[in-house]
Symmetry: C2
Subunit: 385 residues, 2 copies
């Protein structure tokens, strides 16, 4: 296996891009990442996307985006793993470069969720759940998380207001991220009074429906330095899966997929919890953030939310999370999110995170979750000195 490095990154401001088509959305960060990397060609393009068919009537994104980006002829596919699609595309690119099959791979995550031709976006997102046993009964994705949150509050004695800690942290960080959808802080009181979406999940506890795209360029680490002044090494890439239907889990409040994916990543990178300087976790909902912190090992069972309440998830805390706003404030264009997380972690390790810089960050972890914990993809990035 060869060491693999990220040699270029690109991202579009997350938002409602009503005037931009799917292929245009993918183009901007792809070109930015290639310019950052200093390359004009690639061996392959892998596109992470979940909803292009359902929401914009377009599959076949690999060849479509490759051609539009001036890369006609190269190998190109779309990779899908629900909300972890972007990370899955990165995983495939990593495998291709690490194994020696390819030298330069461009990975772009893109999702267009507004101005769609399809059905209701909430219905489309339910395709990440078990269609026969969850979605068919009307269980939306927000509803799954509402049930988990209610159970978490019941089991561990937290109040609804406690969950505000994740939102406040995410928005504080998003306020300093020019690519974030919501660039403003929110106070705990505002969380308390936010409109209820699906009790107990309220507006400020949900990641938004939005459009976005982000890209990275991969190369073997040994040639990365010749192409970019500040490459970042991918120290590990790992996947763990679990049941799609939550009712099939041994315990709905334990994310076995997160535990498996994280353990595999730690083993491959040869690092442990204490070496992780920042953790871009999948905070689509507050309860997912809490459960992720627990399953990954940063907190004991029922103590993930406590970590947030104690301020340990802030930029200068023990485990900074959502350092550029996370899914909540930067936004969650589902198939693009996994790449945004990795771009943000890479920028932290490059020392380019501005006001949100985690001091002397050396090792960052990004983790994407498809569904309510069924596909968990972890990437550990390391600064190359």
């Amino acid at each position: 296996m060869r060491d693999v490095a990220i040699i270029g990154v690109g991202q579009t401001k997350v938002g409602e891009h009503w005037d931009v088509s799917l292929r245009h959305l993918a183009l901007e960060p792809l070109q930015a990442a290639m310019a950052d990397a200093g390359v004009t060609q690639a061996d392959a393009l892998y596109v992470g996307n979940m909803l292009s068919g359902e929401l914009t009537g377009q599959e076949h994104l690999g060849a479509l985006v490759a051609d539009f980006a001036g890369l006609r002829g190269i190998e190109a596919f779309k990779i899908e793993a629900a909300c972890a699609s972007g990370a899955a595309a990165l995983r495939m690119g990593y495998i291709a470069v690490a194994g020696g099959m390819m030298d330069i791979v461009v990975v772009v995550g893109v999702e267009k969720m507004t101005d769609t031709t399809g059905p209701d976006t909430t219905a489309a997102l339910a395709m990440a759940a078990d269609g026969d046993h969850e979605a068919a009964h009307g269980l939306s994705f927000v509803a799954v998380n509402a049930l988990l949150m209610r159970r978490y509050m019941h089991e561990f004695g937290y109040s609804h207001q406690d969950f505000g800690a994740f939102a406040v942290n995410a928005h504080r960080n998003g306020a300093n991220n020019p690519y974030a959808m919501f660039q403003f802080p929110v106070k705990a009181e505002r969380f308390a009074s936010a409109p209820m979406i699906c009790d107990p999940v309220n507006l400020l506890d949900s990641s938004p429906i939005c459009d976005g795209a982000a890209a990275v360029v991969l190369a073997p680490a040994d040639v990365a330095r010749t192409l970019n002044a500040a490459p970042v090494r991918i120290a590990a890439s790992a996947v763990g899966t679990d049941t799609v239907a939550v009712h099939d889990r041994r315990d709905p409040l334990v994310l076995d997929g997160v535990a498996l994916s994280t353990r595999r990543a730690f083993e491959r990178a040869g690092v442990g919890l204490e070496e992780i300087d920042l953790f871009e976790l999948h905070d689509a909902f507050g309860v997912m953030a809490a459960l992720s912190l627990e399953a990954a090992g940063f907190a004991d069972r029922g103590q993930g939310l406590r970590l947030a309440l104690d301020g340990e998830i802030e930029i200068d805390g023990r485990v900074p999370v959502a350092t550029m706003g996370g899914l909540k404030a930067r936004g969650h264009p589902v198939g693009a999110t996994g790449i945004y997380q990795v771009v943000e972690a890479a920028q932290q390790l490059r020392g380019l995170a501005g006001a949100n810089q985690v001091e002397d960050a050396r090792i960052g972890m990004a983790q994407s979750i498809g569904g309510s914990g069924a596909t968990v993809i972890t990437h550990i990035l390391e600064r190359m000195d």
Copy 2:
């Protein structure tokens, strides 16, 4: 790079499986392939599928199928490249094993096109075309092929009846394939009188809408023999892309993607045209078969159909194609087709093709086309003696 072998294959009879859900459809060939390979575990599962979201409201097939197959925990994604999705999933599995990242990978292609909850299947298939510039104007996939066929007839002076040669060959072979959807021969006269679908494409010139699934298990070639008595080596795996919109091509009757993909495959395998004992091509429509034969180099421009008329595509001809019925008679469950082609080619090389056996077949080529030539994936298989 390590040599990669197919150590197990499985396939379901293609047809209208109204009583079988998507996950059940994927399960049968997956289990058959693992049993054939003699393995009970795998490092990853890659699922080739195009339309699960649009037609059955289910994405996230990787984790879903992995769990249902008793493989909970393993890495699993869905790969999409329109009608070449199955071949794309195989490509990803090949990269993972060849590069040394994984030892045992299961690849399943699955498509459920009947008994769907989605819109009209023809509309869903149009997502393989350019949504903004083709499908949005009402150009269905059949219509694209009708335009190409009309142009082919005009340019090269063929009659409509001439195209019957592909259908007659496919059905003759499908009649002996227990997994084919249409297990009966058709005469040239029946082709001539078949109902018109989209002039000049008629019913017998179109591959059918159907359900199906097929699977293969991959392993490094050097350990393949310890696992299976008759492994088949993947001598090459290659991808070429072209524009999705046909009007962007330099010539609509030249499939540059096929030429590129085939050339790359030949280079990697170190073989030439004359060594190919059979060619499982993407005969979704007769004109695609003709253009594929030409772009791959088996016939000069305008002579692909002539090859069929001269009987050279039959089992004992110069280039046997659709040896088990092809997309026309075996059927074309789009995301599964690429795996069916490879399973059939592997069975030919194993000498297990029954009445359709190509004598002393040593090297077989399988080629899947996404869209009207935009993604072309070629696998060259070689008998291991």
